[in-house]
Symmetry: C2
């Protein structure tokens, strides 16, 4: 990165406000010394936090935004009330004007998606951007999309998701030919609905720098059978939250059984290093930062309930997306698909 | 149960054949002394297993079926090849003729569904039966349906699933007014696709003996926020397998970290009782036995890869369904819905 990176931060997003998120920027600045942050939000709340930390003071410029989009506001309402005046809108606008290279928000997902589409617009040929999440697996990490940007998708849109996810995987997971599979109820070709069957066939027919894996079942995600798992937003969101819920459920049950007897308490004490290692390994904060793919700009969504560590990870994701110029790779992949589609149409008709 | 219970067993289903499954019937017979089993399958394989166990010998009648449906056979192919001659078909036929009261198979799910529809038929007003699974939660158990009987469902079909799942919950979970929620990407009324919104509205409008909970997110299933979670089969199957995969992933990761140091190994040894208790609590064998709801008969699907313990649990589920006459309750609920639908139509038009 030759030039200075500037990331726009919607500082009013999230469940716990700016004081929970901004310390994360200190961590980012330690790892990426040159990076600067344009903070958007209520100056009266932001200034005191920035002023008292020399790192933040050196790295941040505060821009006053009078409105904060509520976490439960409907997207249409947020657009109406928060147009131009909200921290979310202004942070996105900074990317539009080039003042910042990317934006990170821990705010309302639906509103962020709606505003990003208005402010930045979708890439040519993309009707529906997708939200791509990093999913910890037994093999490392996979990218799963769409985890809830939009509900429903046709085969061509799933193919777009596959191409975008593969570009992200090449850059972020460092695999030259990422394996890409479609989430389905079985791995056999005959399984599933027509949309996934069609999308899988289309992906195989395109000579893209990826490995078309066919179908993946729900239990294949965590095993890491594919670098990229593609599905539409309804199922993807439910799969992601079901996995988070199951992990939480097991953690709760494990804590309960380990505190039942003196033997198990002692055992848990002796093995505490192992439990910490596991916690670290499976820590959702370390996978925080889902990326909206298909927009004209890098937009990263952090979990609303995250802390400084998690928020720092989300900002790191934005920086990685920029470092590897994932957006250009995506545009290239989509252009290739369009050109192949045109050829196919000529041959067929 | 006044009369003798007879359960038809498709003894050729499953990944490991009859020798893995039949010992489970001994366990069932210990818990439910009067029960008898009609075994369908290859007599040459079944007879030796039955002959050498006095409990099986007393409880089982072997019927020779020359064909065994393959685990990967397409449903249409299975119907063509296995009509009348397969162990699966004949076991279902035993329920149809009244020789048995219910059937259990660890065989090919799609084939079982297809054959059951042909042999037993669907209940009046049911177009698509659903597969209902017992899901271990932090509160106990919930019923989730459809986990993959059919792909896609409209609002009226989801409502049928809700009614059927509630009947099953009243009997198996022993709750008089089970809470029923629809799986969705958010809990707010505006969230999700039109189908779930419509189904949720319809459920609220019917005066059924259940509590309409609205929407449940993926992480709500494991927390046990609802007794019954309703979704269409594509998403339900993916949610179930994603949860199973996540549990497996955590177990694998936990084993790995616990064997890394001498301290953690010693800790794990001391806490082994706790780990066993957790394993017991989360044991998928104990939730084995998904029920096809909406058919004219009790049809229970066991996991193909289960062992005797798991298979016994699946047979227990069939016995419980019969003991509480869940089918009659479902028919009653569906009839009520139909009559209300007729009234509504009169009022509206």
């Amino acid at each position: 990165m030759g030039r200075e990176q500037r990331i726009a931060i919607d500082a009013m997003g999230g469940d716990f406000g700016p004081s929970a998120l901004l310390p994360g920027l200190v961590l980012v600045r330690e790892r990426t010394p040159g990076v600067c942050f344009l903070l958007y939000g209520d100056r009266e709340r932001l200034d005191p936090i920035v002023e008292k930390d020399p790192v933040l003071k050196a790295a941040c410029v505060v821009h006053h935004a009078p409105y904060a989009v509520g976490m439960d506001e409907k997207p249409a309402q947020a657009l109406l009330r928060g147009r131009k005046t909200s921290s979310m809108w202004q942070a996105l606008q900074a990317v539009k004007t080039g003042e910042a290279q990317g934006v990170v928000s821990a705010g309302n997902t639906g509103a962020l998606m709606a505003m990003a589409k208005v402010v930045l617009g979708a890439m040519p040929s993309i009707e529906r951007p997708a939200l791509a999440a990093l999913w910890p697996t037994l093999r490392g990490e996979s990218i799963v999309l769409d985890v809830g940007a939009t509900i429903g998708a046709d085969a061509s849109q799933l193919l777009d998701f596959a191409i975008m996810g593969a570009s992200m995987a090449r850059c972020l997971l460092r695999v030259s030919s990422p394996s890409v599979g479609f989430l389905n109820v079985g791995v056999e070709d005959m399984k599933g609905n027509e949309v996934v069957k069609e999308a899988s066939k289309m992906l195989r027919s395109l000579a893209l720098p990826l490995t078309a894996h066919g179908f993946v079942e729900g239990d294949g995600i965590g095993r890491g059978v594919c670098d990229v798992v593609v599905t539409e937003g309804f199922t993807g969101n439910i799969a992601l939250k079901t996995a988070e819920g199951t992990a939480q459920q097991i953690a709760t049950a494990l804590k309960a059984v380990l505190s039942q007897t003196w033997f198990s308490k002692l055992g848990a004490f002796l093995a505490r290093g192992a439990f910490l290692a596991l916690k670290e390994k499976m820590d959702p904060k370390k996978s925080n930062g889902a990326v909206f793919l298909g927009l004209n700009g890098v937009v990263v969504k952090s979990h609303g309930g995250t802390d400084a560590l998690g928020f720092a990870h989300a900002v790191d994701v934005a920086l990685k997306m920029l470092e590897h110029d994932v957006m250009a790779q995506i545009a290239q992949g989509l252009a290739f698909k369009s050109s192949m589609g045109a050829c196919d149409a000529e041959v067929l008709h």
